[in-house]
């Protein structure tokens, strides 16, 4: 569906995407993970055929976005980062006018609009003004709108950013259904749980480059340990957490120092914790958990994913 070689995007002197290679086969749920400014959205916009490629090669659905933009866009569904709904039209009319942009006959658009409203659970809001919808409902409407042309490829740029936890779960459920139906999904996110929930395969981006590539589980296995022991000490400790890191460095495969806690990476978190206690250290709070993509990211870039 998507193939990129050495893909670059430059804005003047600034390089947003610095030579990435991608291959997304049909039916895959593919994710771009990375902090703000990593180049995820720039990559997505190039794939969506609305942003000219600065260098390298890109093929979307077998076509070149530079020469076949309208033909590519005819078969894409795009859910942009900001809602671009017409807030003065009602919910259903937003779908109707959008379907017409794809050249669909009016009757066909009406049928699809009603079915999609059902799918995103907005049927009883069909006549409501978009302005009156909650953030989560607007997002769902945007997703319904992006499906009106029955796209081969659905692009979602930070689909759940800014939504409350409940609204996110409703949205994930809908995306999961699409995925189960075999829709090729490409999404960007800076939420690890989102990436783990939805993506078959991920690339981790940092400063315009791909720093890791694989399934969520592969990435955790390759770039982290099975478990993590988080130690939080009081603020009064001499030298802060950095000083304490030296005392426990040999107890784990790797130790990360964050401003407010130490992360000890090991296969057995509880064992590691017991050894910490044997050394007479008394952390104020302790958490033993499984490694997540957050740990992968921390390891790869030395920085947290969400500031």
């Amino acid at each position: 569906m998507i193939s990129a070689r050495g893909l670059r995007k430059e804005f003047g002197d600034f390089t947003a995407v610095d030579g990435i290679d991608l291959d997304v086969p049909a039916g895959q749920a593919f994710g771009f993970l990375g902090p703000n400014g990593a180049g995820k959205s720039s990559s997505m916009r190039m794939i969506a055929a609305v942003s000219p490629v600065s260098g390298g090669e890109l093929r979307v659905l077998g076509m070149d976005p530079a020469t076949h933009g309208p033909q590519i866009r005819a078969r894409l569904g795009v859910c942009p980062q900001d809602d671009t709904l017409d807030v003065e039209l009602n919910v259903r009319d937003n779908l109707l006018v959008y379907g017409r942009y794809f050249g669909l006959p009016r009757g066909e658009v009406r049928d699809r609009a009603d079915e999609l409203l059902e799918f995103v659970q907005l049927t009883d809001k069909a006549k409501a003004r978009v302005d009156d919808l909650s953030g989560g409902m607007k997002r769902r409407l945007t997703i319904a709108r992006s499906l009106i042309n029955r796209p081969d490829l659905l692009l979602l740029d930070e689909p759940t950013t800014g939504l409350d936890p409940q609204a996110r779960h409703v949205l994930w459920d809908r995306l999961f259904r699409l995925k189960a139906q075999g829709v090729t999904l490409v999404l960007t996110t800076h939420y690890m749980d989102e990436a783990e929930q939805l993506c078959d395969r991920l690339v981790v981006m940092d400063k315009g480059r791909i720093v890791a590539d694989g399934s969520p589980l592969d990435l955790i296995r390759t770039h982290s340990t099975r478990e993590v022991t988080e130690l939080r000490f009081g603020v009064s400790v001499d030298g802060g957490h950095a000083a304490l890191a030296d005392q426990v460095a040999d107890l784990a495969d790797r130790v990360e120092v964050l401003p407010d806690r130490l992360l000890l990476y090991s296969a057995q978190g509880e064992e590691t914790l017991a050894k910490v206690h044997e050394r007479g250290l008394q952390p104020a709070a302790v958490l033993v958990r499984r490694s997540t993509l957050e740990d992968v990211f921390l390891h790869l870039t030395g920085r947290s994913l969400v500031d």
Binding site: M1, E88, L147, Q181
Partner: protein, 281 residues
């Protein structure tokens, strides 16, 4: 068909790919439903403003103030009365206002606030088709505004001939479009709407007052007269006045038409260029 079927878009991408792109004309036609809904949502408001305001002006300035002014056709560009003189000026000023109001804040909103254009370019629509569809909508708005205005004025006896009034309709639409297209291009390149407020004050309002709508520009000092005659509104007013007062002069009319046509064409080109620079980055 169940809802899950609907949402299942999986199709094998055709390897042959590359069907031909839809024509710009086809893409403009696909936006008719959108603009028709915009029109249905706004027509009552725009009808009041495009009809009541000018009517009040015509009564206050044309009829009441005009009653104090000598009806000397030599002084009034051939018009038999001040009312007959001022009416084409008013209506040309009115189409300028309509054209500019449809492509100033609405364009800003499409780029920046509601981002309707951003949603549109994610579909097969192209920037030229988006600009042309919006200008076609403006032309329709102008048609309604001009038709209403002329019908209201007919009883005042200020339209010299029926064919002149009829010909004035496309001419006035062209005047409005020339302003709309240039304003579209201007607004598409702005980063904030504060400049728009300034433009209304330093360009639109002075043009309305000093471009021959209310008095012959020959009343102005030579430099200002020359300046007034360079404005698009003066060309619009003069051409409209020739038609409503039956004083058509072929050569001069052609100059007006070419000027306004060229401005509309330039504005459209500029709007496409600047909107592309904003959206396709």
């Amino acid at each position: 068909m169940s809802s899950t079927d609907t949402a299942n878009p999986t199709r094998t991408p055709s390897p042959a790919a590359a069907p031909t792109a839809p024509s710009t004309r086809e893409l403009v036609a696909r936006q008719v439903d959108y603009w028709w809904r915009v029109y249905l949502r706004t027509w009552h408001g725009t009808l009041a403003s495009s009809f009541l305001m000018p009517l009040l002006y015509v009564v206050a300035i044309g009829v009441l103030l005009g009653g104090y002014i000598d009806s000397d056709p030599d002084q009034l560009a051939g018009a038999p009365s001040y009312l007959a003189f001022v009416v084409p000026g008013m209506i040309a000023g009115q189409v300028m206002t309509v054209g500019v109001s449809e492509t100033s804040w609405p364009v800003m909103s499409g780029i920046k606030w509601q981002k309707v254009y951003v949603g549109q370019i994610a579909t097969p629509l192209t920037v030229p088709s988006i600009v042309l569809a919006q200008l076609a909508f403006v032309a329709f708005r102008l048609l309604v505004a001009v038709a209403v205005f002329l019908l209201v004025l007919a009883p005042f006896g200020v339209l010299a001939t029926w064919w002149g009034a009829l010909l004035a309709v496309p001419v006035l639409i062209l005047v409005g479009l020339a302003f709309a297209a240039v304003c579209f291009g201007f607004t598409a390149g702005l980063d904030s709407d504060t400049t728009l407020t300034v433009i209304y004050r330093v360009a639109i309002l002075p043009m309305f007052l000093f471009s021959g709508a209310f008095f012959p520009v020959s009343q102005l000092p030579a430099v200002l007269e020359w300046l007034a005659k360079a404005t698009p509104l003066w060309h619009g007013v003069s051409l409209t006045r020739m038609l409503t007062t039956d004083t058509l002069a072929g050569g001069q009319a052609l100059v007006h038409l070419v000027y306004l046509g060229a401005l509309a064409a330039f504005g459209t080109w500029w709007a496409v260029r600047r909107l592309t620079a904003k959206l396709v980055v």
